[in-house]
């Protein structure tokens, strides 16, 4: 063995230590590089030299620089990131709505309370203009709350659309990165068996990780160290060194929503809103589970309020002795009714339709749901799908010729016709919370009084007790023939024959004195005097009268229009009752409860999301931990390595130096 051999060995050690120091420095300096995996140099002994009798060592071979990584840990981190970002995005969006709806100053519950409180307060002093102004102010503040919440919903919808569009752009650019890294890695692999650049693999993993934060991905390893990336239900996003483009476009079904489109070489795949996982999945789930049902439910509550309050308000008389006008916007305003139905962008037919809210005994407003519907025409049948649960019903063959009554609403074709394959989107309750306005402008227009006055004749000798009047409709001829008077005014006259328990009475047209009908009055009981004399006279007239007491023959009661009854609060008491009337959700919920359903739904969705979020966060942290524990840089370890390689370097240098001395000794001895 010669000194030159020693020099070679020393040199190999020197180079090996240098490479070790280099790799350690690389590790130390990338300590804060996201996605970086620590690297190690594998040292091997060089092939020995056979001297004929033995093998002589030839030094160290500074082998591959190995990237310390574990595919399983990386895959797990990806999946956890998708999951966490999905629930986190959902949670953050839901939390905003949660605090909005529950807040006393912006939520509807306290607004509704103040509004009906003002109605109640006015009932103590129905003629007070200041109290009427308070009610007007509370009414417009209630309308503003509806609009405020609706605006929050629609703003969330708009920003969600924007978020989806930007996410699609980011997904595409990440896909481009991955494809390009795939390409580089394939080239290195093709260029021969050798080391793979760990930093490139890290970069690709980091891009895939970022992609997974946006949307759920499936990663499938391919030859040449490439990976394919799929999103959704196996739609390809990256295939080898090729990537496809994800973009958004306005949904066919709903012009206010965007859906995803994946443009591949061969086709344009309409993904709509089917993507799951990541921020995109969270946004889609939020929109589907909270936002859209929320908008619909706010609309349902607004429709319930406007419909019930308007109906009762119309049954009263205001300070100007006129029948109550529209208090809130008419739920069946023709323009609004038309906005509730829209054709798909793909439709080829010309049909336009409208949806009017029904509140008939056969189809009460309680039947109205907060779901959207889709009406599809297949050339023979019109099939209506309720989107909340997918229930499909075929419309009767009379449609579209005759309007069809569905759950609490009537669908009318207002023009054109559907052709086979057309679909209409029907949104009965959407947007009304934003469309509703306060219609009355003058506090005198609040219809506090009942339109019916009953006056006992001063000459009565018996006792006629006026029990109640229930006004059912003010659109009957009795009220409409001459506004401000009852046509005809009625007189109830008590006539013979009489017994101790009963006497007869006549219902008389007070203008012509014509007897409309005769009935029997039960003394001491409550008697429906109109329908008791002429069947359904109460329906014809639009009001129902109840009398009790002990009338005597010759007694009479005049029924007239209630002019000048400024302190009459009877209609206000009925308006107060609108608050507690269980008219919505199948007749089991009053207005507050129907809104409460929304609040508690958003509340429990948010609470659920909070739980999911913290579980997801724990899983993500564990996955990050696992990867860090395998691939992360430990500075103490690197410092130790640094010392180790420094010492090795010094030792190898010493070897060279000794080899030099040996050479010198040899030279000097021959000199």
């Amino acid at each position: 063995m010669g000194a030159s051999n020693m020099l070679q060995i020393g040199l190999s050690g020197l180079l090996g230590a240098q490479r070790g120091i280099g790799t350690t420095s690389h590790n130390i300096n990338n300590i804060n590089t996201e996605g970086f995996s620590r690297q190690r140099v594998d040292f091997t002994a060089r092939a020995p030299q056979y001297t004929g009798s033995t093998f002589l060592g030839t030094g160290v071979e500074p082998g591959q620089i190995r990237r310390i990584a574990d595919d399983y840990a990386i895959t797990e981190m990806r999946a956890s990131a998708s999951n966490f970002n999905q629930v986190n995005n959902f949670y953050e969006k839901a939390l905003r709505m949660d605090s909005l709806l529950g807040d006393a100053s912006s939520g509807l519950a306290s607004g509704m309370q103040s509004f009906f409180g003002a109605v109640q307060a006015l009932s103590a002093q129905a003629d007070s203009i200041p109290s009427r102004q308070v009610l007007m102010a509370q009414s417009s503040s209630l309308v503003q709350r509806f609009q405020g919440i609706e605006r929050q919903f629609t703003q969330q919808r708009a920003s969600l659309n924007l978020e989806l569009r930007e996410s699609a752009n980011t997904v595409t650019s990440l896909a481009r990165n991955i494809a390009s890294l795939n390409n580089q890695l394939a080239q290195y692999t093709n260029s021969g068996p050798g080391d793979l650049p760990g930093d490139l693999l890290d970069k690709r993993d980091k891009s895939i990780q970022e992609l997974a934060e946006l949307v759920g991905v499936q990663v499938v390893p391919q030859d040449l160290n490439q990976v394919n990336v799929y999103i959704g239900n196996g739609q390809p996003l990256v295939v080898g060194s090729k990537n496809f483009t994800l973009s958004t476009r306005t949904s066919d079904a709903d012009p206010t929503a965007v859906g995803f489109v994946l443009q591949t070489d061969s086709a344009s795949l309409d993904l709509g809103r089917t993507l799951t996982g990541g921020k995109i999945g969270g946004a889609i789930a939020y929109s589907r589970d909270v936002l859209e049902p929320g908008i619909n439910r706010m609309g349902l509550v607004a429709i319930g309020l406007a419909n019930e309050f308007n109906q009762q308000h119309a049954l009263g008389v205001d300070l100007n002795d006129q029948l109550g006008g529209r208090y809130f916007t008419d739920v069946n305003d023709p323009v609004i009714a038309g906005l509730r139905v829209g054709g798909f962008a793909t439709n080829t037919g010309t049909a336009t339709m409208s949806v009017t809210i029904l509140d008939t005994p056969a189809n009460p407003i309680a039947n109205l749901t907060d779901s959207d519907y889709e009406l599809r025409y297949d050339g023979t049948n019109y099939n209506l799908t309720r989107l909340s649960d997918g229930n499909v019903q075929a419309l009767p063959p009379t449609f579209p010729g005759t309007p069809v009554d569905i759950e609490g609403f009537r669908l009318t074709v207002t023009g054109g016709a559907m052709v086979s394959g057309d679909t209409m989107r029907i949104q009965p309750t959407k947007s009304f919370a934003g469309q509703m306005r306060l219609e009355i402008t003058d506090p005198r227009q609040i219809a506090a009084a009942s339109p019916i006055r009953s006056s006992n004749a001063a000459t009565n000798t018996g006792t006629v007790l006026f029990r109640s009047v229930e006004v059912m409709s003010t659109s009957t001829p009795a009220f409409t023939t001459t506004p401000g008077t009852l046509t005809p005014p009625l007189q109830i006259r008590f006539v013979a024959p009489a017994t101790a328990a009963t006497l007869d009475y006549e219902v008389v047209d007070a203008t012509t004195n014509a007897v409309l009908g005769t009935g029997t009055f039960n003394v001491g009981q409550d008697n429906d005097v109109l329908s008791g004399a002429v069947p359904a006279l109460d329906v014809t007239m639009g009001y129902d009268l109840k009398f009790g007491g002990t009338p005597r023959i010759g007694d009479s009661v005049d029924i007239t229009y209630n002019n000048g009854a400024v302190g009459d609060n009877r209609n206000l008491l009925q308006l107060v009752a609108v608050q507690s009337a269980e008219v919505l959700d199948g007749g089991y919920a009053n207005l507050g409860e129907a809104y409460g359903t929304l609040v508690s739904k958003v509340g429990s969705k948010t609470a659920e999301a909070a739980l999911n979020r913290s579980a997801g966060e724990t899983l993500l942290r564990q996955a990050i931990d696992r990867r860090e524990s395998i691939s992360g840089v430990n500075l103490d370890e690197e410092a130790a390595n640094l010392i180790k390689f420094q010492q090795a370097y010094q030792a190898s240098a010493q070897v060279i130096s000794i080899a030099g001395q040996l050479f010198d000794t040899l030279i000097s001895s021959v000199r």
Binding site: I31, A94, L95, D98, S99, L101, G102, A109, G117, Q120, S123, A124, Q125, A126, D127, S450, R453, S454, S455, A458, T459, N460, T461, F466, A500, R552, I553, N562, G564, A565, V566, G567, D568, N569, R570, L573, V576, S580, G592, G596, V599, S600, V602, G603, S604, T606, A607, A610, R621, I624, D625, E628, S629, I630, S631, G632, V633, L635, D636, A639
Partner: protein
Amino acid sequence: MRISTNQFRLGGLNAMLDLQQLLSRAQQQVNTQKRVSTPSDDPVAFSLISNYNQEIANAERYNANISAAESRLGLVETSYAGVTNIFSSLSEVALIGSNGALDPDIRKTYANQAELRLGELLGLANIQFAGSEYLFSGSKTDTVPFARAANGSFTYNGDQIERRLEVASGVSMAIADTGFEVFQNLKNGNGDFFAAHAPANTGDAYVSPGNVSDRTSYNTNPTDSFQITFSAVPGGGFTYDVVNTTTATTVVSAAPYTSGSAIEFAGRQVEIFNTPAAGDSFTIAPSQPQDLFTTVQNLANALRLPRTTATETAAATESLARSITELDRATQHIEGKRAEIGSRMNAIDNDKEVNDSLIISSKTSLSKLEGIDLAEAISQFKQLETGLQVSQQAYAQVQNLSLFNYL
């Protein structure tokens, strides 16, 4: 397990972030003293909280209505007390005035006094709440309920709509009475019939207001009128016939007359005093509506009636006796109304108590649901604060540990 440097940092950092989150939540709870401030804090509790809040608000609204009702009912009560006073003093006036020996001038001053009282009565009937709301005009609260017409009669300009307020869930209470019911809808005479002498009588007999002696018999023809006619009996004394003038049938025929003894027919009973002239008659007609003001006016008129002849004195005595009956009935009527107001005020007091205890129990449940145990919350807050400080110290110390420090 191998730990990377970043893991050290992240572990410490995450611990601090988590603690900060808990700390901010605890701080919020201590600040608001509420456990539940958004629906997601506890969806079930939140919906219960909304219900309780609504119940409290409703009960408070009912209490506001109750105080509105109480203040009106109080004024109504005051008015009725005044009316009762007026009628008791008028009853005195009528009794003194009916003393035949009274000096005519003094009787006239009593008549004037009665008329003054009439003005007071009108004032009480036209009483206003808060200076703007007429309490006795039904729902026409802006209309003066009673006015004197040019012909001296009194008209009611209100209506017969009773104003009610909700004082508890589903319970409404009348907050005033209509003037029709209180001041107007009374009857003259004894309330069933009106007994009077015929204007053409020449004797000095007069009739008492009478009463119904047999209600069943009376009820068979309550709206019929009768006439009692006297005939002289040769040799002194009188007999009387009673004719139902509505059906033109004679009910009593030639009954002997004794001054002051009861004359009974068709369930009705009157007494006739003194000596009639032959042919004198008395009518018994069904009572007609008469308002309280006319009742008082009639008293004043009766006190002013001339008493120069025996016939005139008889007429004046009869009128005063009738006025006394009418005043009694008016007093009873008002006392009845007053008692009704009293029971209404009792009822709303009860309602108020129920509302108040509902408010208290709802608030108790509410604080159990949304409130926090402050001591516990503060100790938890302190604990978290200490935890965070410890985490921060540990983090700083761990970050100082590095082999590089020794190189």
